[in-house]
Symmetry: C2
Subunit: 363 residues, 2 copies
DNA sequence: TCTTGACGCTCAAGCGCTTTAGCGGTTCCC
DNA sequence: GGGAACCGCTAAAGCGCTTGAGCGTCAAGA
């Protein structure tokens, strides 16, 4: 019978040793699958441990040189920005799935900015609180990889492109460039030539990759009226930018949003201005979630498996903690789920009275 | 100068003792504000500690009887259900704000169900991983309070009504009953007499409070056609229920949803069926978020400060950890923000051809 | 003058675990 | 037949911190 009345005191190895009639060391060997005890003793010790509901004290383990069986995860977000966001919860869920198998804990912290995040890493390191960390939202000139290197804290960077300067860190990333290229491909195939990309925070590495790719693709295909507009990821700014670009004399015929939330906000803004989707305007969300199927029309979206993304990252961290080499892993390219918000570009001249500007219409 | 080149080895009290020329005990006294050292020594020790960037090893502290400076938070949710949800991230953010001041860590875990959650508490207790926990989503016949009592693990129940059977636990709760009463009041004042409450999971304590209150209010006001329909909180089920009730011969004129996500999904379903909001149908969301302002029309919503809710809970847990008595704290009653989805009940008979009773298409 | 007692400090034990050294006994091999 | 190698186990030290006991020293009180 594995479960008993829980005692008020935690059972220790000493208790097991006494009941099994062996020394504490023997118990340690037995429970850690180390040689040094007979199979009979090992089995007996195991049985007693289970009866007592014993679990190793992480504190004691940590003190004697083992890890603390905990990994850290910091989310750097201004408190106000913490809104509707399916990505992180899913990511964390994926991480947990992998960590739980090994009984590793996840220490979670929300901070305001990257500087605070660095302070947290330092503290965690000094307090010996984590064995490794998962880093999200890598950015240009990111101080974190260097810091983690310096502290020799095993880490996996989620969403970053491979970084040769810090060979100690593993990287798990999605091929944003490939995805952006395929989106542009789809949209141009539908006849779109004026495309605006409402991007996320401009200093995030993946935002920059998307922006660069969009520009490259535009040049390659000879599209002059294609651009990226960075935002702070807020629904408010997404709506504002949407209104601004749609009021131009020659408004874009397709909008690509860097998040589901922004896409929904943008869709509402477009509706306000009287644009009908997808007849006059195509909308693509980068990130799929229930949200995309809660608005009318349903949003076409780039879908990636965020849960799996998290699992992969966690597995890489485990490999690192097990002494494996740092690696760079690419998760599958997000793929475009075509729903009802994308369609052929409206042919002919721009809309209504907007034909004044003389900038080429492209169709 | 507080910061230096980070050494490869963590500094320990022994290092401080050597550099300050005192014993380890003196260092301990000095750094923990205990009597036993002169002010001069205390200052010197403090200075050295800071120079070295010393931080106490949580493991060692924990081993010698102090707490582990960590609190636990378990979210019991089937992985699939982890969707768009602003509430928990905000709650956690509020919790963090308070914990961070005291340098307490938050150990976070996502599990499938309450049974797993209990297992996690047992493990955390046995591994000596947390000093206390925050419990969310209390339900009827909840095994958790009993378990936490048994383990004497300090805990704060978030969202539960006060529970006399477990006087060791603190409770932080919102007055759902009062809020529901006020919503019903508002709606009846607008002339609504057929109201459907699309509720959340039926075994959650707060769901039951809302349902009970709605029924009581209906009786008190003599409203016959008022009911609650429990769901699993999913947007799919919210939409399905919405369609079902709106296809009735005498459909409700007001819908109250137990979450913002469900309200948005329901709004879309209603639009599909050709109901215009708020002219023919009023919609209220229980939980305000950016989502409510991203759809058309903007949703009227019951707003509470989830961040503050989290802070309050965390503060109560700290009080408990400091040896204070268990308390029951009520946070302010959520208040109804009236936006564009609520209006006077459509007077006169029900709608159009719907008097047939069949499962019509709706539009 | 001698005793108290407070002060400022050091010593050493102990928290629960891992790990190295070592011990008696058997087996192996030349 | 004697040394080496191995097996199954115990003893003890150590991880970084807290804490109660104890020890000089100095000032005040008898």
């Amino acid at each position: 019978m594995p479960t008993r009345r829980s005692p008020a005191r935690r059972p220790t190895m000493k208790d097991i040793a006494r009941r099994a009639g062996v020394s504490e060391s023997a118990v340690s060997f037995a429970l850690n699958d180390r040689p040094g005890v007979s199979e009979a003793t090992r089995a007996r010790v195991r049985r007693v441990a289970e009866q007592l509901g014993w679990r190793p004290s992480t504190a004691a383990r940590a003190l004697s040189g083992e890890g603390v069986a905990t990994v850290g995860f910091v989310l750097a977000r201004p408190a106000a920005t913490l809104g509707v966001d399916s990505f992180f919860l899913q990511l964390v869920s994926g991480i947990q799935g992998v960590l739980a198998e090994r009984h590793l804990g996840l220490l979670f912290q929300v901070v305001e900015d990257v500087a605070d995040e660095c302070a947290v890493y330092r503290r965690w390191w000094a307090e010996h609180r984590v064995d490794g960390v998962l880093v999200v939202d890598p950015r240009a000139d990111d101080p974190r990889p260097g810091l983690l290197d310096e502290l020799s804290l095993p880490a996996v960077v989620i969403g970053g492109a491979p970084d040769e300067r810090h060979p100690g860190l593993s990287t798990v990333w999605a091929d944003d460039a490939g995805a952006m290229a395929s989106v542009v491909g789809e949209l141009t195939a539908l006849g779109h030539r004026r495309i605006v990309h409402i991007a996320g925070l401009p200093d995030l590495a993946h935002t920059q990759r998307r922006i660069r790719t969009l520009r490259a693709e535009a040049e390659r295909r000879g599209l002059a009226e294609v651009e990226s507009v960075p935002t702070d990821y807020s629904d408010a700014e997404a709506a504002a930018v949407t209104r601004r670009v749609l009021r131009r004399p020659a408004p874009p015929t397709a909008l690509v949003y860097d998040s589901d939330v922004m896409a929904v906000a943008g869709l509402a803004a477009a509706a306000e201005l009287g644009f009908s989707v997808p007849a006059e305007l195509s909308v693509v969300a980068w990130e799929d979630s229930a949200l995309c199927r809660m608005v009318a029309p349903w949003l076409s979206a780039l879908s990636r498996d965020s849960v799996e993304f998290g699992s992969t990252a966690a597995r890489e961290l485990l490999a690192l903690l097990d002494g494996g080499p740092a690696r760079t892993v690419r998760v599958p390219v997000p793929r475009l789920i075509e729903r009802d918000s994308t369609g052929p570009a409206r042919s002919g001249p721009p809309r209504r009275e907007d034909a004044n500007g003389g900038t080429g219409t492209g169709a």
